[in-house]
Amino acid sequence: MIDRIVGARRGIEGNGHLADDANLIIDSGQLRTRASAWDAVQAARNIKRPHTLDVITRVFDRFQELHGDRGFRDDPAIVGGIAELQGRPVVIVGEQKGASTEENIQRNFGMPHPEGYRKAIRLYRLAEKFHLPVITLVDTPGAYPGPEGEERGQAEAIAKAIFTMTRLATPIIVVILGEGGSGGALALAIGDVVLALENAIYSVISPEGSAAILWRSPTEAERAANAMRLAGPDLLDLGVVDALIPEPAGGAHTDHEETAKAIKIALVAQLAKLERAATSDLLSARYERFRGFGTLAEPGAAAAPPAAEPWWRKFPLMRRRP
């Protein structure tokens, strides 16, 4: 009988790969207050929230944006490039929302087209070739659902992006900044460590979409948001994210500098640990991280298999220091 409630993370004791000194929240019990799911939705969507380029300019040095998918178009909803994180060159790929209506139109409200995901794939491969770690910044309501996206293979592009990340032979750190909208987020969110800002959300469908389908009423979005357990602390409980990055008291939108500082501390600490792992260990731990997800019972199974060792124990160098 297997009953994996969540496979990836089991609370504070095991998260040896998550640094103490990064001030991360690795158990929802650490939170003084637990915002409602709906508050998190509002915070994650706040137009003043730090978006990908806000974070890049504050966390990294010498950012050079790299453009294009080499096939159709440079998608402004995804930005990527090379920069330095405390002197260490890295590849960054992030979804970019606007801070104004005008910028949002230009950025398609952070909803990438297929060519955006194909640009991401190109940059993932570039990183792999030159052993650059990948840091992704997730912030999208979802992949663009319009007919141009369908025509050019939105689903194919997302699938290939996920596929590429699962076996990419270089460390990947994912940070969910704001909205993690379904497959459009997952195309940037397969990593060795998956972090989220405290008020970020991550869900299989938007609360509005869920409400329309399950409650047959878009006004039930708040109820749907709660039911879907899409807020940071829920994601932590579910093991979908490994840790939360604390936001300033009033929320990330009140202080971009402070938010960036917390992100930087977390990235530096995680990267230092991941870089010590051999690539083969990295890839097998990444496999097991995602392999573990699922809530199942298998009544007929002959005997209970021994409890699997948590995947992160395979990183000998990443254990919590005594």
Partner: protein, 279 residues
């Protein structure tokens, strides 16, 4: 009953009207014709059990992981609790969840086969579908057998929230290992295949074939047209459209599907000079 469980919608003493050509089809004949209209070739949906019977060599199918059932990670309740929905779907279908997996042979080629069933909660992908496919891919890797997945799904199962979303990462991780090992994976897309299923394993076959007229879209029709406020052209997001747009290797009619898959797998197998997979 030629294909195992008789589809509820076609009691064999009645007639069914073809939605494409309007022909009245005698159900017994329709089922004998693989649920395909004998006049216009309209492909009616097909359940997982009759699908398996049509695809595999007689008597070769050995079901795997049949007892897997879903938990309730979110303790999800909409108009009713998720466990009640599952129980209702199980009672109605006689199946445990939306996919059936097993080991089989197709035209003499050993395969791991997974077939989805749209009748079970819209073929939605949650932990059980994710686990069955992942295990099938892992078996294919271990035994060096080809993998064949027949998709029919509305996408990820909302009631399992991000745990359903994570199934995409889990399945694709296993497929990527299969790819690296040089083991073939054929994706068969049937009506309808949308959302997270299309945006993960259904789009990752070494070869991707679809049945005629299948709805194949990332976003549902409502979402797609609602977002841009325009009317979509006829046939948008159907198999023929995807073939033209370059996303399908072939459209294969149901009657030819088994033979075609067997040809592809046979070609890959025969060509493997160093016998990296299969026997």
């Amino acid at each position: 009953m030629p294909f195992g469980r008789k589809p509820k919608e076609f009691p064999d003493h009645l007639w069914t009207k073809c939605p494409t050509c309007g022909e009245m089809l005698f159900n017994k004949q329709l089922v004998r014709n693989l649920n395909v209209c004998s006049k216009c070739e309209h492909h009616f949906r097909l359940g997982a059990r009759p699908r398996i019977e049509q695809l595999v060599d007689k008597g070769s199918f050995v079901e795997q992981d049949s007892s897997l059932v879903s938990g309730d990670p979110l303790r999800f309740v909409d108009s009713k609790p998720y466990p009640e929905r599952i129980a209702a779907a199980q009672a109605k279908s006689g199946e445990k969840d939306a996919a059936i997996a097993g080991t089989a042979a197709i035209g003499g080629n050993p395969v791991e086969l997974v077939v989805m069933d749209f009748e079970f909660m819209g073929g939605s992908m949650g932990s059980v579908v994710g686990e069955k496919i992942t295990r099938a891919a892992e078996r294919a890797l271990a035994e060096r057998r080809a993998l064949v997945i027949v998709s029919a799904s509305g996408g990820a199962r909302m009631q399992e929230g991000t745990i359903a979303l994570m199934q995409m990462g889990k399945i694709v991780s296993a497929l990527a290992r299969l790819d690296e090992a040089g083991i073939p994976y054929v994706s068969v897309i049937t009506d309808p295949t949308t959302g997270g299923v299309l945006a993960s394993y259904a789009s990752l076959g070494d070869l991707i074939v679809a049945e005629p007229g299948a709805l194949i879209r990332f976003s549902g029709e409502r979402v797609t047209s609602g977002t841009v406020g325009e009317k979509l052209p006829v046939g948008f997001g159907r198999s023929e459209f995807l073939l033209e747009k370059g996303f399908l290797d072939q459209i294969v009619s149901r009657a030819q599907l088994k033979e075609r898959i067997a040809f592809f797998l046979g070609s890959f197998r025969a060509a493997s000079q160093d016998v990296r997979w299969g026997l």
